[in-house]
């Protein structure tokens, strides 16, 4: 179903976004082990009410907790979400805005193939960004002699990747509806900002995509996040089929 010629074209077109995102996230990954000693000093400072002292104490009790809180729960989740929006906003809208859609769609590809290949390439790039930057974190942590539970960090990272893919597919959905990459990006950004609101309240926190992405129960109790993955896959599938439906109905 994936067309290799189109897949390669998508990788080439998104290369600048890819490199920028990778460099920024890798710098963030490098900063985490480098700043551990400095951050530990915060434990002795009174940061209330900004920071819950118990929470801070728990996070700084060992390097793994610290790395997870800074990487999986914070930098990676936030930046991968942003990268997903930036990569997804032009996925379909770009072809419409630049008038290249008729040329592409006159080639022997089904609309579904085009949609699948384009979103597949975006998710592949997103995966590379997340994978390489996480490897940077693991490598730097090892170099500085910090103990990191690599297996559980990678598992958490996979959940973040699935969540970021959902955000990408949601953005691609808006990119199908709105034939302008910037407008599609703005609308998607607003949508995904609103999607964060349930996470602000204790009663609604499980309905937040970002909460599911972080897979907090897995970190705290070691429960594999089946439910989170199921929710994210379901949401991603709905966005994919929804976007594909509208893409298939469009006239060019």
């Amino acid at each position: 179903m994936i067309n290799s010629a189109l897949f390669i074209k998508e990788l080439v077109e998104n290369r600048i976004k890819f490199w920028i995102a990778l460099v920024i996230l890798s710098v963030m990954a490098l900063a985490i082990p480098l700043l551990f000693d400095f951050t530990k000093e915060l434990e002795h400072m009174d940061l209330s009410p900004l920071v819950n002292p118990e929470e801070l104490s728990f996070i700084l009790s060992n390097y793994h907790n610290y790395a997870w809180s800074q990487w999986t729960a914070k930098n990676l989740t936030q930046f991968a979400s942003l990268a997903a929006i930036v990569l997804g906003m032009g996925a379909l809208a770009g072809e419409m805005a630049y008038g290249t859609a008729p040329f592409l769609l006159s080639k022997p590809l089904t609309r579904r193939q085009v949609y699948m290949t384009k979103t597949g390439a975006g998710i592949f790039l997103l995966g590379l960004i997340i994978c390489i930057s996480t490897l940077v974190l693991i490598a730097m942590s090892a170099m500085l002699g910090y103990e990191l539970h690599v297996g559980s960090l990678i598992t958490s990272t996979v959940v973040v990747f699935v969540g970021a893919s959902v955000i990408y597919l949601g953005t691609a959905f808006f990119s199908t509806l709105i034939p302008d990459p910037v407008k599609a990006g703005v609308v998607a950004g607003l949508f995904w900002a609103l999607a964060a609101v349930p996470g602000f309240f204790q009663a609604t926190v499980p309905y937040s995509v970002y909460y599911q992405m972080k897979a907090i129960p897995y970190w705290l109790y070691g429960d594999f996040p089946w439910f989170s993955l199921l929710v994210l896959f379901g949401l991603g599938y709905l966005f994919f089929e929804g976007g594909n439906y509208y893409w298939n109905r469009k006239d060019f």
């Binding site: 067309n3 290799s4 010629a5 189109l6 074209k9 077109e13 630049y98 008038g99 290249t100 008729p102 040329f103 769609l105 006159s106 080639k107 022997p108 590809l109 089904t110 109905r249 006239d251 060019f252």
Partner: protein, 300 residues
């Protein structure tokens, strides 16, 4: 649906909101011919081609390209049908060779000989970025890319737009003739009458989304005649009662009589009446188009 028709549509319709772009189109394009779809801008010509290749979804009706249903076999159709849209936009960051390589990846059949031939013919340098090409050169490249998969049917929308006169002549004298020599079919949409008169076997006249007339160009020319006569005095009105006269225009003693049938009889009636001048002329395509639609086409 028979294999005699490269394109066949039945009651094909397309609406854009309230605007009716194509209305009950019954089009038949015989295999191995050059068929020109003529009409003003907005007549629906481009929409017809786009529906055939799957870029636009019809609201109702049936369509077949090379015997394949446009609703269910669009991917197979695109393997065998080359489409050149009006002023095509191709990825500007690619070079000519990158665009060729990109397109090659979609087709089961691809003739590098055709690519090389037309790169030479159109004098396109492989390393040139597409955003540095003129619109005419982009059209030439898009045409090359449509020809390389060796399509059985070519759908060309204003194919020579932006071509200089030499390239335009080359296109009509060489490219189309090569297609015909190989038994392929070409469906052209255009408002450039002079070019179409030169190459088309058949024409279809479109006006406001409707196909108002279609027939072989020669037959149209043979059947549609005009008598221009300058009488010495006012002729009797019975002279113009012949049912073969479809239109009569009078300026003083000069008459223009448009005829669809009974030329000989009408000519003799006119000749029998005293006159200064009497000629039979074949109207050009523009005159014919004007008669069927009530509006003139622009000439480039």
């Amino acid at each position: 649906m028979t294999n005699n028709w490269a394109v066949q549509t039945r009651a094909l319709n397309k609406d854009y909101g309230r605007k009716r772009a194509v209305v009950d189109l019954n089009l038949e394009v015989p295999s191995g011919t050059i068929f020109a779809l003529l009409g003003l801008n907005g007549a629906g010509k481009s929409t017809v081609l786009k529906m055939l290749v799957g870029l636009v979804r019809p609201n109702a009706g049936e369509g077949f390209c090379l015997g394949m249903d446009i609703h269910s076999r669009e991917n197979e159709i695109r393997q065998k049908v080359g489409y050149l849209g009006a002023e095509p936009r191709i990825y500007g960051y690619m070079t000519v060779l990158q665009a060729i390589k990109f397109c090659r990846g979609f087709y089961r059949e691809w003739d590098d000989g055709i690519v090389k031939h037309y790169l030479d013919v159109f004098q396109l340098a492989g390393a040139t970025k597409l955003n540095q090409l003129s619109q005419g050169q982009k059209n030439q490249l898009a045409l090359l890319l449509a020809l390389a998969p060796k399509p059985d049917l070519l759908l060309l929308d204003e194919p020579t737009s932006g071509f200089d006169p030499v390239k335009r002549r080359l296109f009509f004298n060489a490219v189309l003739k090569e297609m015909l020599a190989e038994g392929k079919t070409v469906l052209l949409a255009s408002h450039q009458l002079e070019d179409m008169e030169r190459v088309a076997d058949r024409v279809g006249l479109m006006h406001r989304g409707r196909l108002v007339h279609t027939c072989p160009l020669d037959e149209l020319r043979d059947r549609e005649k005009e008598i221009r006569v300058v009488f010495q005095k006012e002729p009797p009105s019975e002279l113009f009662n012949n049912p073969g006269i479809v239109e009569l225009k009078k300026e003083g003693m000069a008459y223009r009589i448009l005829i669809s049938d009974g030329l000989e009889e009408i000519w003799q009636s006119c000749a029998a009446f005293p006159h200064y001048a009497l000629d039979v002329i074949s109207p050009d395509l523009e005159d014919i188009f004007l008669r069927y639609t009530g509006e003139g086409l622009q000439r480039d």
